[in-house]
Symmetry: C2
Subunit: 316 residues, 2 copies
């Protein structure tokens, strides 16, 4: 990827994730952003919300200058937004029919060599590309909240995505946003990898609270006092490899085999869709009595702390 | 608990966890430590290893002064080690028969009001206390590695443990070691809570690597770039409560119900004891080709980074 080339990035859907990704792309001084969203007050929303995202990642940029200099453009139609695009990235509704129809249209209007990215957390590229003539250009770029700060981007190609598309997106983020860590997910599994791990934790945590083993507050305190910090500094396998001493990871498994086996066979199972899921009502009541809705000031303070923590890591 | 009272802490078993806990207790200037371990070279080991633990949590203390001033005492018998103890904490072999026999002896030699703590990661107090005359004084204080730095202490009483014992241990760590976070585990479940969550993650992570969805290296990179930092700053339930917007935690469950349901029903199950566990050989090979054994310098650098991260948190 050429580092000093002007690139048009068309962003389709400018909700929170769209705004956040706009700030990420604007870190590249050669980027030109083309916005399309069906909401009539798009420009007011961008003026109101984008500055706080820019402040966190590109504090020298002014929203007024970005608009007046033509680095941010508002488009009345999808056709004009994507007409000159190098990259088209969508973060529209999480609805397969919407996304299928969107990409079929984008394909008609966009340059033949444009790159197609979806920010979905759950609808794989193989589903989204079903109505396209050429399904080899689309892949998923799934960010984690908050996307402009959290380093992870799950790159999830479909079985039809060309390997050049994977190389391009990996290079793009390495070049444009050194804080981001694109990670390749090689198969389209439900929840990709990050949410599978997070929801496995959510299930066991909910089960233990439901069983009266620990309170919601103490479960959270426990994570912040142990596994969160551990996994911020060392990976899961890296930790256990070190924990195995001379026997490395195999030694760890040998030593803990009995406990691991007991734990695995006793992990809780919960059904979220069961109509009378009593655990769900119980958890919702306890979580909502433990935490109030965070104020904007609390959210900003947490985001600032997260940024400080990420500066410590140097994980690349 | 009286803050300025002289307390004798008898530590039984001075391996890595024992040395680490010794450094924790020595933060209290009024503590007197009584060591007992069957190894013949105990004093040399303490002289060689304790200073590095002290350096991290109580850098002003000198091992020579601690010994010459009588704050650290080496005992030839269990009987003399526990005779004056306020607290007796064991970190001996993870073997139920050993621990049962140990506590039955300790009970004979220790003062009637001494507090009995086990650092076990897996043998509950109700099992360990089976041969005691009074099983109401023993509880588990399970630290996380490295114990002198990692804040979590899982406090796991048996159904017979007196509530005064729980209050005492909570107060003790709040007073003596502000860096530590004792968390109450209300039932004796396998793996307690921290390792249940960690092993749920290990199972899904191993499953995804075995299925070819992600590499060992990328799984670790993903955790360090997303869930580790998230859970270092926000708890599991706190994060999803904030993520639910106006609907709070209930709103989050409603919005993600479909994906959570798909993920929960598809989480991997692995058998660690199956004699021909092919996944286990595959994982051990990939982990051990990804990571070499950490050098002491690498381990120290990671521990220093972990301490920096914990200073950022202010989770109490």
């Amino acid at each position: 990827m050429e580092p000093n080339k002007t690139r048009h990035i068309a962003l389709i859907g400018l909700g929170t994730i769209g705004m956040s990704m706009a700030a990420v792309h604007l870190q590249d001084p050669h980027s030109i952003l083309d916005f399309f969203d069906v909401r009539p007050d798009l420009q007011q929303q961008v003026l109101a919300q984008l500055p706080s995202f820019l402040k966190a990642v590109a504090p020298d940029l002014s929203i007024e200058t970005l608009i007046s200099s033509g680095r941010i453009n508002f488009h009345p139609t999808l056709e004009s937004a994507v007409a000159s695009a190098t990259i088209i990235q969508e973060q529209g509704p999480e609805n397969a029919a919407f996304k299928k129809s969107l990409w079929a249209q984008v394909e008609k209007f966009a340059p033949n060599d444009a790159h197609f990215w979806s920010s979905t957390s759950g609808i794989p590229a193989s589903v989204q590309s079903a109505d396209m003539g050429d399904n080899s250009r689309l892949l998923v770029v799934h960010p984690f909240n908050p996307p402009h700060i959290m380093p992870l981007l799950e790159i999830v190609p479909s079985p039809n995505t060309k390997s050049e598309e994977i190389d391009f997106v990996m290079n793009y983020f390495h070049t444009v946003s050194p804080r981001h860590r694109p990670v390749l997910i090689k198969k389209e599994v439900s929840g990709f990898v990050g949410n599978r791990i997070a929801f496995a934790v959510l299930r066991e945590a909910s089960y233990l609270v439901d069983q009266g083993v620990i309170s919601v507050q103490d479960l959270d305190k426990l994570m912040m006092a142990s596994l969160g910090p551990r996994w911020a500094i060392n990976g899961v396998f890296e930790s256990y490899n070190a924990g195995g001493g001379d026997g490395a990871f195999g030694g760890f498994l040998d030593k803990l085999e009995g406990t691991i086996s007991d734990v695995w066979s006793g992990l809780g199972t919960l059904d979220i869709k069961e109509s009378d899921a009593a655990w769900r009502d119980k958890l919702v009541a306890e979580v909502e009595s433990t935490y109030s809705r965070p104020t904007p000031a609390q959210s900003s303070a947490k985001a600032a702390k997260l940024q400080e923590l990420l500066r410590l890591q140097d994980t690349r």
